[in-house]
């Protein structure tokens, strides 16, 4: 299971890094969102993987590690705030400049890279 979990996290990271390396704002925001999923999964797994051991006192004999869960919970909410901020920033830039390219327009003219 651990192998599968690690491969999944790795795949998520790779896909999100690829998206972040794009030249337009929307895929980058999607990439950032996905990267935050990957990071959350990674951080969550520092408490190690456990099945059927809820972090509720008195419900089961042993319990999964509650600390990473608490930290990741706030991380999810903050991640949402960041996603929201960056997507609105992208909309604002589109409104101001008329383009959703993230690079210097002079540079884009020279190289034409997306």
């Amino acid at each position: 299971m651990e192998t599968l979990y690690a491969i999944t996290v790795g795949t998520l990271t790779a896909c999100s890094v690829f998206l972040i390396l794009r030249g337009r704002s929307f895929p980058i925001v999607i990439g950032i969102t996905m990267l935050s999923y990957a990071v959350n999964l990674f951080l969550f797994s520092t408490g190690r993987l456990t099945v059927n051991e809820l972090p509720l006192v008195g419900l089961s004999e042993s319990s999964s590690d509650p600390l990473p869960q608490a930290l990741v919970l706030t991380a999810i909410v903050i991640g949402f705030a960041m996603t929201a901020y960056s997507i609105i920033l992208a909309v604002r830039v589109r409104g101001e400049i008329g383009s959703d390219e993230v690079n210097d327009s002079n540079y884009a003219e020279q190289e034409g890279q997306r």
Binding site: T11, P27, L49, S63, L73, V77, I78, V91
Partner: protein, 929 residues
């Protein structure tokens, strides 16, 4: 304490001239002089100990972990230099009072001068090498201000910049050298360094240390090939030049060599480098001094030459040479300060420093001429003047050394040659200016300066003769302890004017005759030198500087080319470079922790997750599809949280997922739906490679991490959750109780992000398409009836669920975050289904207020603990029995959670509702809405 006061008084006093800015010049001068006199008086009080050959120490800890202390020492060497700095400084202040014109700002001048004086005093009295370096750099900075005093002149600005660049760079080399010494000795205190002298000399790093320290000394003391900054520093006002060239700045390098002679000296490397540099500088300076037509230029090169002489003596390093070096420091300071002041007087009273224009001033300025003859005679080394004695000793040392084996003879020969040139330019200084036919077309009609302007020069001239006639009476007392401090041994001096007919006397005589011959035949020499291209050091320096700047610019251009993608790619590559070797060094990838078996559902989930992630990345040009794939990813992530025993996370992730996908669909309305062109193949290949590597690294790290056993601090939370926090849901208790302060920070960040978004939306004119990407118009029914009805029916249910989740959160999965998100999602659904107008007419509440109220409730819950003498955010709880409901827990933590709940609702709706209004008449239009 007095020692520290001597150094710090000028620094404190530097404020006084600025405070007196509105007053008469005389007051400012007197105040500045008073500060100097006070410092000097303290020095005199402390002097007897140093004169007796002992050392006074002052020690106060500053940064003990760095080995840096405020430590001062007053031994013979420090006393000699401090005395020169203060006495000559005082005379320079008097002179400057008359020299500066009414247009010049006296407060600024005297303030900088005092700063400079304090820095120099710090160098010579510091007992800690780092502290000394600190003052060393301060002299670079304050001399920059002094040289650039007339900042309206470009020569002054350039001269100041050059001096700062050269001496500052040398200072950095010196720091490196000092740090190396400190790493060997383990302390920067001078006594410890002296004690470890043998260790340092035998250390393998000795040569680097020597070169670094000498770089510092040579740049400061204008030794060949770093001499070029000194003539350009001539752009400074003459009092500054007189001070810089006699007792301070350039003498700092000499001082450093004398101070570290017992540590670094006595080795073949020291002999070779220091002696040859000194000799080269001596000849170079003397030759160019003869060619200069500017009075101050002549004196500047003669300073270089005399510094070379002193450096060479320190290079020889024998007891006799040290005596000669220190003696010449005093003598040079007296006659050179005097000569610079005479040059300033001539400039001041005739309006010119050009020796081609100046001539025959003996009629107009007879008194100044006498002073010039005396000081020049001392510079030339004529008998019965102080310069003669030290030059004689220099000849003796040059004659006696045998450092270069069979070739040792060239040292005394070249020394005599240097002395000849020195005589020649001294004669020239007097003869060209004061003799020959009377001057014509000078800017001003020459006349004698005021008496007080001549006074400092008279003092110097008297000293030149006095020391020259009675050296043992006037100089021996201060010289003896100084020599002892350098040689670290008892010394008795015997300076006599007459040694009988010997080699040094012959060399002196040769120098005198040769010098006059050179002067008489100087026109030949000038013709000879004219056939060489005049290499202006300023141009070469500017060329080197601009080449360096251009190189750096090119490098910058190459790295910073405006492509954000490239920056990220470079960062990622750099990360790989750092992480890959570390991971490669890990021998065992799989840890010892027993692993869970893979079940079929997990496998299916993981495959879906990976496929969806890949699809998101690959279909990113079809944005809506890509977004749908992303929502699949988020959904499966929340399922995996459920699977791995994290119900709170799963619920949060689920609702956040819904809200952010809605937000992004909304944003997509304002963004281009498709991307016209694909990336070039090369770029895709690069990105795939990079992303794959990073993903592989992260996956490997994660695998290595989760297969290893671990110790967690969570046992504390598990054990104390019920007795300490009164809740069985440990995750929630951590959030609102144990780590409540963190949560307060999180919701504040959330509120700030929402406020930032609110601001971003102000006055925004988004791009609004009238049709979809294929040109089809939007559907005319904006709010379908089915959706409307269902959404309205869901709202009360959703609100009830969210209240339930909120209340049970302390004991079962749930809590403020999740409840808030559920409420927000239900509200968003109303906006989608019914439109902004519908919601506004029923629920017109300001979300900004809601957010602020939420944060404040959380904050005041924390503050409330203070009223019960508890720490911030301490929670208390009790159980009450309600009829019908049963046993129920009341905790202050639930109040805190209420704050979280309201903040999450407020912030989420602030983001989404405000954004959703963009297409309606409720769009925020002006600032402050």
């Amino acid at each position: 304490m007095n020692l520290a006061a001597i150094v710090f008084l000028p620094f404190i006093g530097a404020v006084i001239p600025l405070l007196l800015a509105g007053r008469a010049r005389l007051h400012i001068t007197l105040a500045t002089a008073a500060v100097t006199v006070l410092s000097l008086a303290l020095l005199v009080v402390e002097a007897p100990v140093a004169l007796a050959g002992d050392t006074t120490l002052y020690f106060a800890e500053w940064l003990p972990t760095l080995g840096l202390h405020i430590a001062f020492r007053l031994d013979g060497l420090a006393l000699l230099f401090a005395g020169l700095i203060l006495i000559i400084g005082l005379l320079v202040i008097i002179y400057a009072h008359y020299y500066l014109s009414q247009k010049d700002s006296a407060p600024r001048f005297f303030s900088c001068l005092l700063l400079f004086m304090g820095s120099m005093l710090g160098i010579v009295t510091a007992d800690n090498l780092i502290l000394m370096w600190f003052f060393w750099e301060l002299t670079s900075v304050s001399s920059f201000l002094l040289i650039g005093y007339w900042f309206h002149q470009s020569t002054a600005r350039r001269g100041a910049r050059m001096a700062l660049a050269i001496t500052g760079a040398g200072g950095l080399a010196l720091l490196a050298g000092i740090l190396l010494i400190g790493s060997i000795v383990g302390s920067y205190q001078l006594d410890a360094v002296f004690a470890a002298a043998d260790t340092i000399r035998e250390h393998e790093l000795y040569l680097p240390i020597l070169i670094l320290v000498l770089l510092g000394a040579f740049t400061k003391s204008a030794q060949f090939p770093f001499q070029f900054w000194l003539p350009h520093a001539m752009a400074a006002p003459t009092p500054v030049s007189a001070y810089l060239h006699s007792a301070t700045m350039v003498k700092a390098g000499i001082f450093l060599m004398a101070r570290l002679l017992p540590v670094l000296g006595g080795t073949p490397e020291w002999f070779t480098i220091v002696t040859l540099t000194g000799l080269a500088t001596l000849l170079f300076g003397a030759y160019f001094a003869l060619l200069k037509t500017d009075l101050k230029g002549l004196l500047a090169f003669s300073t270089i030459s005399h510094l070379g002489l002193i450096t060479m003596l320190l290079g020889l390093g024998s007891a006799g040479a040290v005596v000669a070096a220190l003696f010449h420091i005093i003598n040079h300071a007296t006659f050179k300060a005097g000569l610079f002041m005479i040059a300033g007087i001539i400039d001041h009273e005739t309006g010119s420093r050009d020796m081609r224009k100046l001539s025959g001033l003996r009629k107009a300025m007879p008194f100044t001429m006498v002073l010039a003859v005396i000081t020049s005679a001392a510079m030339a080394g004529i008998p019965f003047f102080n310069g003669f004695l030290s030059k004689e000793m220099f000849f003796a040392e040059a004659y006696q050394q045998d450092l270069f084996g069979a070739l040792s003879w060239f040292v005394p020969v070249l020394a005599t040659l240097g002395a000849m040139l020195s005589v020649a330019y001294s004669v020239r200084f007097v003869h060209d200016v004061f003799f020959q036919e009377p001057p014509h077309d000078l800017p001003k009609k020459p006349h004698e300066p005021p008496l007080m302007m001549r006074f400092p020069v008279i003092v110097f001239a008297v000293l030149c003769i006095g020391v020259g006639v009675a050296p043992m009476l006037l100089a021996a007392d201060i010289l003896t302890p100084a020599v002892s401090a350098v040689t670290l041994s008892e010394t008795t001096l015997d300076i006599a004017i007459w040694h009988g007919f010997n080699m040094p006397l012959l060399m002196s005589a040769l120098a005198l005759v040769g010098g006059i011959v050179i002067y008489v035949g100087r026109s030949e020499l000038l013709t000879f030198s004219r056939q060489f291209d005049p290499h202006d050091a300023k141009e070469i320096f500017a060329k080197i500087l601009s080449a360096t700047t251009r190189f750096c610019d090119d490098m910058m251009q190459r790295i910073e080319n405006g492509s954000l993608q490239r920056y990220i790619a470079l960062l990622l590559v750099f990360t790989l470079v750092l992480v890959v070797p570390e991971l490669a060094a890990v021998r065992q990838l799989t840890g010892d922790r027993p692993q869970l078996p893979i079940d079929a559902i997990s496998l299916v989930g993981a495959v879906i997750l990976m496929l969806a992630a890949l699809a998101t990345a690959m279909l990113h040009r079809q944005r809506l599809t890509s977004l749908m794939m992303l929502s699949v990813v988020g959904l499966v992530v929340s399922l995996s949280f459920i699977h791995f025993s994290a119900p709170d996370l799963a619920m949060t992730q689920l609702v956040v997922e819904v809200v952010s996908i809605i937000l992004m669909i909304l944003a997509l309305f304002f963004m281009p739906q498709r991307i016209p062109r694909a990336s070039s193949g090369r770029r895709v290949a690069r990105d795939v490679l990079l992303a794959g590597s990073i993903g592989g690294i992260v996956g490997t790290l994660n695998y290595a991490l989760i297969t290893r056993p671990f110790e967690s601090i969570s046992d504390f939370f598990l054990a104390n959750s019920v007795p300490g926090g009164g809740g069985t849901n440990v995750v929630n208790v951590i959030l609102v109780d144990f780590r409540g302060f963190d949560t307060l920070g999180e919701i504040t960040v959330l509120a700030i992000a929402a406020a930032g978004i609110h601001k971003l939306l102000n006055n925004l004119r988004p791009f609004m398409p009238s049709s979809d990407v294929d040109g089809r118009p939007w559907h005319r029914v904006k709010h379908p009836l089915m959706v409307q009805t269902v959404a309205q029916a869901i709202l009360p249910l959703a609100l009830m669920v969210s209240v339930y989740i909120f209340l049970r959160g302390h004991n079962l999965p749930g809590g403020g975050f999740i409840a808030g998100l559920v409420t927000a999602a239900a509200m968003i659904l109303q906006y989608i289904a019914n439109g902004v107008d519908w919601v506004k007419s029923r629920f017109d509440y300001n979300y900004q207020t809601l957010t602020s109220v939420g944060v404040m409730i959380a904050l005041f819950t924390g503050v409330g603990s203070w009223f019960f003498d508890h720490n911030f955010l301490t929670s208390s709880f009790t159980y009450v029995h309600w009829p019908l409901v049963g046993k129920f827990e009341l905790a202050t933590a639930i109040l805190f959670d209420l704050g979280v709940y309201l903040t999450v609702i407020g912030a989420t709706l602030m983001i989404l509702a405000n954004f959703g209004q963009m297409t309606t008449r409720h769009r925020p239009r002006q600032e402050g809405y």
